[in-house]
């Protein structure tokens, strides 16, 4: 069994030429984009599901075999999926270690928001702050294009003979996303300047893209549960700013949002932030269609 294991271990070092690339991603969003770019030249597996909070994942031994055999491992980065590194250490796959040919940080070319200024102390007194900035960048579909370009470049590096195929898929993806952005802009334009409250500080990129104003969060600090005092202040804020919507992800508890909604006219809109977060969010463009549809329905109902 050891000899077989050694032989199979040697095969792990064989380049990916001439075979389908095995790609593992931390989140379903990365998996969906990679599938769009890689097409039939890749087999993609996401370690987590769309209805899970990517901050809060217990790495499981059952995740290790798929990483052991991966040609490429794509992470969100910015310390959002830091849990994945214990899996890299256990997987015994030199390709996918940080800096290796099969490791890709999808945030490498993203223009990051909310990067703490230099000289500002970052510690738990500020809640769960990411020193590299707000990591929820995939929620701007234009960043999805950048992610797709980054993935296309990496796939081309691993399988240069498929460059034209990946580029063709990338072009189609870009067109799809451009059409999507225009469609969402048109849908939301009818409501003028929209103000929202969010549960967690995760919608900055989405709101910047579509001109939505975030007036506050239910969490007093990132990662800190809503407190009675903060909810009381939030209720006053909602009334003062006439906020129509609270947007929160499917995995957050509804109690705080429902409490605020019960004291004001705000409507709670539960949306996925990942592909597969709800059944209708079948792929990356579909994710935004679901988010927008739910927001629009709630705005129309007011």
């Amino acid at each position: 069994m050891i000899l077989i294991g050694l032989f199979l271990g040697f095969l792990q070092g064989v380049p990916a030429e001439g075979r389908v690339l095995k790609v593992v991603t931390t989140t379903p969003n990365l998996a969906s984009i990679c599938q769009d770019i890689g097409g039939e030249k890749v087999v993609v597996t996401s370690l987590i599901k769309g209805n899970q909070d990517p901050h809060f994942i217990e790495p499981r031994p059952s995740m290790i075999p798929v990483l052991r055999d991966a040609d490429l491992f794509i992470v969100i980065g910015m310390e959002l999926d830091i849990w994945a590194f214990s899996l890299i250490n256990a997987a015994k796959n030199r390709r996918i270690v940080p800096g290796g040919i099969g490791y890709l940080n999808a945030s490498s070319r993203i223009e990051k928001l909310e990067v703490p200024p230099a000289g500002v102390r970052i510690d738990a007194s500020r809640g769960h702050v990411h020193p590299a900035g707000n990591p929820h960048y995939w929620l701007d579909p234009q960043n999805g294009v950048i992610i797709a370009e980054t993935i296309a470049n990496k796939l081309t590096e691993l399988a240069p003979e498929e460059k034209e195929y990946f580029q063709s898929n990338l072009t189609n993806f870009k067109k799809k996303i451009q059409h999507l952005i225009t469609k969402i802009q048109n849908q939301l334009a009818t409501f003028g300047k929209i103000k929202i409250l969010t549960y967690h500080k995760s919608w900055s990129y989405f709101c910047k893209r579509f001109g939505i104003k975030i007036v506050g969060e239910l969490e007093p600090l990132p990662g800190v549960a809503p407190s009675p005092k903060h909810l009381s202040e939030t209720i006053e804020l909602v009334k003062k700013e006439n906020v129509p919507l609270i947007i929160q992800e499917v995995f957050y508890p509804r109690r705080a949002a429902d409490f605020v909604a019960g004291k004001t006219n705000v409507r709670v809109v539960v949306v996925p932030n990942s592909v597969g977060g709800v059944a209708a969010a079948k792929d990356y463009p579909g994710l935004f269609e679901v988010i927008t549809q739910r927001m629009v329905e709630a705005l129309k109902a007011k």
Binding site: Q52, E58, I64, P65, S86, G99, N153
Partner: protein, 404 residues
């Protein structure tokens, strides 16, 4: 002489012909201009197309240069525990403040402070050091809990660890107390592996089996220092000591998308802690099962069982004893979890020396963050009394463990 009318006709004809000629010439010129304009437009379009292609080519070159820069001079490298721009180790501090109530005297104190320093020395080679300040017989003592090098990938699926380490026997022994779902160690582990868990100096070699499901086998050779002497109100204890050999197989079977079943077999061969005084050979055999199910949101259900058979050769005769624990923990949201722990053990002594021990604990834990918790626990201990615990676990820094 021509008549005026005829002259006018000639002049009119002349003008008409001029007009026609001019129009024809003009039309001819416009047609030429049009052709030339069209040609110029085509040339411009081609020029734009060429420039667009050049732009795409330059963008790709720029991407390639940026990518190469990231690989050779990365802005950030994740060490697996934190993001660092310099060769700084991960430094953490974990505190465990504990109060016991219900037995006299009541006690509330800092139970343990753990310092952890770790980092990569070389690609795929890590060093991790854990020192602990813990209370022992009323006094605080500093102890090296663990200090080892990890060779994460020796090739072919092999890895190794060298140094002082909590041994990989069973599921719980290698975990630090702040990772547990309960305040105290199950009595079966206290009796068979020691009050502070079983740690030794030596080497372990592991192999990740090339199977579709996670399976890892590990063998180790250790030297375990003579354990602390703990006198449980006149009772003696025995745990492994001297030269120890361990073996463990752990497999994880994904029963469904949301459910994993982990199965482990453990083996230990060595001496009992009295081996320097008399015959004391020890074999331990363990089997552990852990079922994890992940529900919607943050829900997680865990059910764990460990059964250990203790075969100890001592002068009065070979003692064949059993012990087990089972643990259930349910986390129903991001911040709360609850559970029970039940443990039963036959101490590795003749029955007239030590009786069996039982333990039942019920715990409720509030997580303030990933490494900060408050725990309330009620336990029924070996004296038949109820003991209450209030525990504060706090963590500063990126300290985390390998997959637990």
């Amino acid at each position: 002489m021509l008549k005026p009318f005829k002259i006018n006709r000639i002049i009119a004809s002349f003008f008409l012909m001029s007009l026609i000629l001019a129009s024809t010439l003009s039309a001819a010129e416009s047609g030429t201009e049009l052709k030339e304009l069209r040609k110029e437009m085509e040339n411009l379009k081609q020029s734009i197309r060429d420039r667009e292609e050049k732009l795409v080519e330059m963008e790709q070159k720029l991407n390639e240069i940026e990518r190469r820069q990231e690989v050779t001079i990365p802005k950030t490298i994740s060490t697996g525990q934190s993001t660092s721009t310099a060769e700084l180790p991960d430094i953490s501090l974990i505190g465990n403040i504990q109060g016991r109530f219900g037995e006299s005297p009541n006690n509330f104190s800092v139970n343990e402070i753990e310092f952890a320093v770790g980092g990569f020395l070389y690609p795929q080679i890590r060093a991790d050091v854990y020192t602990a300040l813990h209370k022992h017989d009323g006094e605080y003592e500093v102890e090296l809990e663990e200090g080892y090098l990890s060779f994460l990938n020796l090739g072919g699926g092999f890895d190794a660890q060298i140094g002082k380490k909590l041994l990989n026997f069973g599921r719980l022994n290698s975990l630090h107390p702040h990772s547990w779902n309960f305040v105290e160690r199950p009595v079966v582990l206290t009796e068979y592996l020691g009050d502070h868990g079983l740690a030794g100096n030596g080497v372990a070699v592991g192999y990740l089996l090339p199977l579709p499901l996670f399976s890892r086998i590990e063998v180790g050779a250790w030297r375990v220092d003579a354990p602390h002497e703990h006198d449980h109100e006149g009772m003696v204890t025995a745990s492994p000591a001297g030269e120890i050999y361990t073996g463990r197989l752990l497999s994880s079977l994904p029963v469904s998308e949301k459910t994993d079943l982990e199965m482990g077999l453990s083996f230990l061969k060595g001496h009992g802690s009295h081996y320097e005084e008399h015959l004391d050979n020890l074999n331990l055999y363990g089997i552990d099962l852990t079922l994890r199910h992940y529900g919607p949101g943050y829900q997680r259900f865990l059910f764990r069982n460990e059964v250990i058979h203790n075969r100890r050769e001592i002068p009065p005769g070979t003692q064949k004893k059993w012990g087990f624990y089972n643990e259930l923990n349910w986390r129903w949201n991001k911040h709360w979890d609850t559970g029970y722990l039940y443990s039963w053990v036959e101490p590795p002594f003749p029955e007239e020396v030590r009786e069996e021990r039982k333990q039942l604990s019920l715990a409720l834990t509030r997580s303030l963050g990933e490494t900060n918790k408050i725990r309330f626990q009620v336990s029924h201990d070996l004296e038949g009394e109820f003991v209450g615990y209030l525990q504060f676990i706090f963590g500063i820094g990126p300290h985390s463990h390998p997959i637990e």
